[in-house]
């Protein structure tokens, strides 16, 4: 067999890669160097004007980026803690184990947009059941969606509810795949459940935990549907995230060129920051 022929087998994969990854990125970069908008719908060349605008004259993008960082880090930490706790519960031999495993997965199986509409109804400040229940307990109506600070936590509640099951699923799979010997050894040494968790379970779960956290951080950094339906980025811009802001610029205001600039910059930032986060987590959680 001719040695060079083996490269022919790479072509199908290569074509797919070019089609779905390389071409869109190159097209986005080219679009970001144009002024395409509603009144000049053409791929003209304006150099790095859009990038200059982004870095010198668009604090709203950076505010939305830092807000996104806060929301995604907070939600993922909470999802990890709650997901790990739930996984530990159903990992043990408890009654109705299978039933609970299915119950814990239900939020993840629902459609995010539909669930967010339901959450929005729950949190409706004058007509929703949450404030109604609190009112029966003598608590004043809480401005779930109208207060700039509380609205952020409302978004966090919905995100945690929706995506904790994903973390739970990954961590439970990890727990079920752990070797039994270290736990037997710890039991023989008389280790308490707490010490067993700290010195055996948690270190063994570290590689899976890092994978789960990174996957969820990638997903959480794209948060859009929850914000879109629940608050539309409001009140004011209090819950606006990067992806929602890019959506506004691109598909509401039709500044296609500038939206491409935002998208590409955001992609670069995310690649760099997630690489750093993965390295830091590895250093912190995995001990040689």
């Amino acid at each position: 067999m001719n040695f060079k022929h083996k490269y022919v087998f790479l072509f199908p994969g290569l074509f797919v890669l070019i089609g779905i990854l390389i071409f869109p990125i190159i097209f986005t970069i080219r679009l970001s160097l144009s002024g395409w908008n509603s009144y000049t719908p053409e791929m003209n060349f304006i150099g790095i004007t859009n990038y200059i605008r982004l870095f010198t004259d668009d604090p709203r993008f950076w505010e939305s980026f830092f807000r996104l960082s806060f929301l995604s880090v907070t939600t993922v930490i909470l999802q990890y803690i709650i997901g790990f706790a739930l996984a530990l519960i159903v990992w043990r031999e408890i009654k109705f184990k299978r039933f609970f495993r299915v119950i814990f997965l239900i939020p993840m199986m629902t459609t995010p947009v539909i669930m967010t509409v339901i959450w929005r109804t729950f949190f409706h400040e004058s007509l929703g059941p949450v404030n109604d229940l609190l009112g029966n307990l003598g608590v004043k109506p809480i401005l779930w969606l109208s207060d700039p600070v509380i609205a952020k936590f409302t978004v966090i509640i919905v995100e945690v509810w929706q995506w904790t099951p994903f973390m739970f699923l990954l961590l439970l799979a990890g727990l079920l795949s752990l070797p039994k010997e270290p736990f037997l050894a710890a039991a023989i040494d008389g280790a308490s459940p707490f010490r067993k968790f700290v010195y055996v379970t948690f270190p063994l779960m570290a590689p899976i935990s890092i994978g789960a956290i990174i996957i969820r951080l990638i997903e959480a950094s794209k948060i859009m549907d929850t914000v879109f339906v629940l608050t539309s980025g409001g009140p004011g811009t209090a819950t606006e995230t990067s992806s929602f802001y890019i959506y506004i610029k691109g598909l509401r205001e039709f500044q296609m060129g500038y939206a491409a600039t935002l998208s590409f910059t955001y992609l670069v930032i995310m690649i760099i920051s997630l690489t750093i986060i993965a390295k830091v987590l590895t250093k912190l959680m995995i001990k040689e």
């Binding site: 908008n37 109208s146 039709f254």
Partner: protein
């Protein structure tokens, strides 16, 4: 012989007299939507459409979400399909995405939709992609009754691009059973020393709304609130802000622009008039229902129409919803022009002119056009003509949630409204309000320039920041003005000026 002659004459006379009724019954039996009037003869009536044959053809429509405009679009699509044999696909899209959903294929040279619904202020951006309304439709009888201001809104440089299906303006709605109630008038006077009356100024509006906020003033066991307003960013709130600003900023002594100074193209939206309006609006967050800061148009209609608030101002929908027979406040509401102000900013002297000023806002409304690249233009225009035929129009304007509002001279007659159960004085106050706005010489028209969406979005974001307490009114509007300058530089001042001059001419009563 004489008897036979008499009988034949009587029969013919009876047929002549009763034929329109029999005619109407024939169609209203099949289409109960028009049961009040039956079919009304015309070029696009039910009878006329039934003679068209579009079997095997498909009409694709992109419209707003149900119910506002989405529901009548779907209803008339179903009727049109039954009458003509056409297949009609209706796609429903949220208000904020209507612009892009049409623009993306427009710019790509495609026509996934034959008919696109949007807002009348999109006209400048959309007109190059829309087919002008053909002469035969422009000259039809049903079009001749459309008011000149709404013909103007649907047209550009004398060419009609948008088919009139809706007429819009913002005005005040109030609870008549409270404002006209002697018991409350006495109580209000005793507590505040002021008269309880239809608010003449925004300051009065605020005082009354604050007074009637948070207690059960209609005895239904629920708390009521001062005002329901569209305050949600990206949900038409910029229009509400312009309504609140008009009285403070539209000075009849300083023609030449409300949004910009036409000569210099300097944005005016951060002048003291607009700042005063935004300051009032920030205060209004204290007298809206809980969560009112997130009210979109649908919430506002539901809130006022459901009897939750004393005041509201926006399009006709909330008023018509409140007047429907199943409404808890049926025949308990009144209409009036938007409140005025006791001072108005004069940008020439850079000072306030003292004295009462009032300026109606002819806000943009629903608009619809046919894509230039559509392969079914004739069918598309027939559908639109059918949508707005006299029978459908009369039925549609009486249903608040439909979002179809008066735009024909006939709509400004009180009888049209008393026929559907409105009290005579309410119907009269309603049509008088609309007519006064048509006659006003100090009107504000919507911004219709290239990049309209960008300008309005920048303003809405700034106003939303002020409402949420993120920025002071002055800082928020300074931020918006700076963004308007940036947009002007990107679009080109001369391009915007050329388009804006058309709106200014309408405002200055030169068109």
């Amino acid at each position: 012989m004489k008897t036979i002659k008499t009988c034949v004459t009587a029969l013919i006379s009876a047929l002549l007299v009763f034929s329109p009724v029999a005619y109407a019954d024939k169609w209203s039996d099949q289409f109960p939507h028009i049961k009040a009037t039956g079919d009304i003869p015309g070029e696009c009536s039910y009878e006329s459409m039934s003679k068209k044959n579009y079997k095997g053809k498909t009409l694709k429509i992109n419209t707003h979400a149900v119910p506002v405009m989405g529901e009548p679009t779907a209803l008339h699509a179903e009727q049109f399909a039954k009458l003509t044999g056409a297949k009609v696909d209706v796609t429903h899209t949220p208000a904020g995405d209507l612009y892009a959903k049409a623009m993306v294929p427009f710019q790509a040279g495609q026509a996934p939709y034959d008919i696109v619904f949007g807002f009348s202020n999109f006209i400048n951006d959309w007109k190059r992609y829309l087919e002008p309304v053909p002469k035969k439709y422009v000259e039809m009888k049903q079009m001749q009754d459309v008011t000149p201001s709404h013909i103007g809104i649907a047209s550009w440089d004398g060419v009609m691009y948008q088919f009139p299906v809706d007429g819009d303006r913002h005005y005040l709605k109030y609870r008549k059973d409270v404002i006209d109630n002697p018991k409350y008038q006495k109580k209000y006077k005793a507590d505040t020393g002021k008269e309880l009356r239809v608010p003449q100024t925004w300051k009065e509006y605020g005082e009354m709304a604050a007074y009637f906020n948070g207690w059960d003033w209609d005895g239904d066991g629920e708390k009521e609130y001062g005002s329901a307003e569209v305050m949600k960013k990206d949900d038409l709130m910029y229009a509400a802000f312009y309504s609140r600003s008009a009285a403070y900023s539209k000075n009849p002594k300083t023609p030449g622009g409300f949004f910009f100074d036409l000569k210099t193209m300097k944005p005016l939206i951060n002048n003291p008039g607009f700042v005063e309006a935004l300051t009032d609006w920030v205060a209004a967050t204290k007298y809206v229902p809980p969560g009112g800061i997130n009210f979109g148009l649908g919430d506002e209609i539901g809130s006022f129409g459901g009897g939750q608030t004393l005041f509201s101002f926006s399009w006709d929908d909330a008023f018509v919803a409140a007047m429907q027979p199943d409404s808890p406040i049926n025949n308990k509401v009144g209409a009036a022009q938007l409140p005025g102000a006791m001072k108005v900013w004069n940008r020439t002297t850079n000072s306030w002119d003292e004295g009462f000023n009032q300026a109606p806002f002819f806000v943009w409304g629903w608009a619809v056009g046919v894509a230039k690249k559509s392969k079914e233009k004739e069918m598309a225009f027939d559908y639109l003509c059918f949508f707005a035929n006299e029978a459908n129009h009369q039925a549609d304007i009486g249903i608040g949630r439909f979002g179809v509002n008066p735009f024909r001279n006939d709509d400004f007659k009180a009888d049209v409204w008393t026929q559907i159960g409105w009290d005579k004085d309410i119907a009269q106050s309603y049509v008088d309000t609309l007519a006064q706005m048509e006659e006003s010489k100090n009107r504000v028209f919507p911004l219709r320039v290239p990049g309209t969406f960008e300008f309005n979005a920048a303003l809405a974001t700034a106003a939303a920041k002020a409402l949420a307490g993120q920025l002071s009114p002055q800082a928020a509007l300074d931020e918006a003005a700076k963004q308007w300058e940036d947009i002007l530089n990107r679009v080109g001042k001369d391009n915007v000026r050329a388009a804006y001059s058309v709106g200014v001419a309408m405002e200055d009563n030169k068109l």
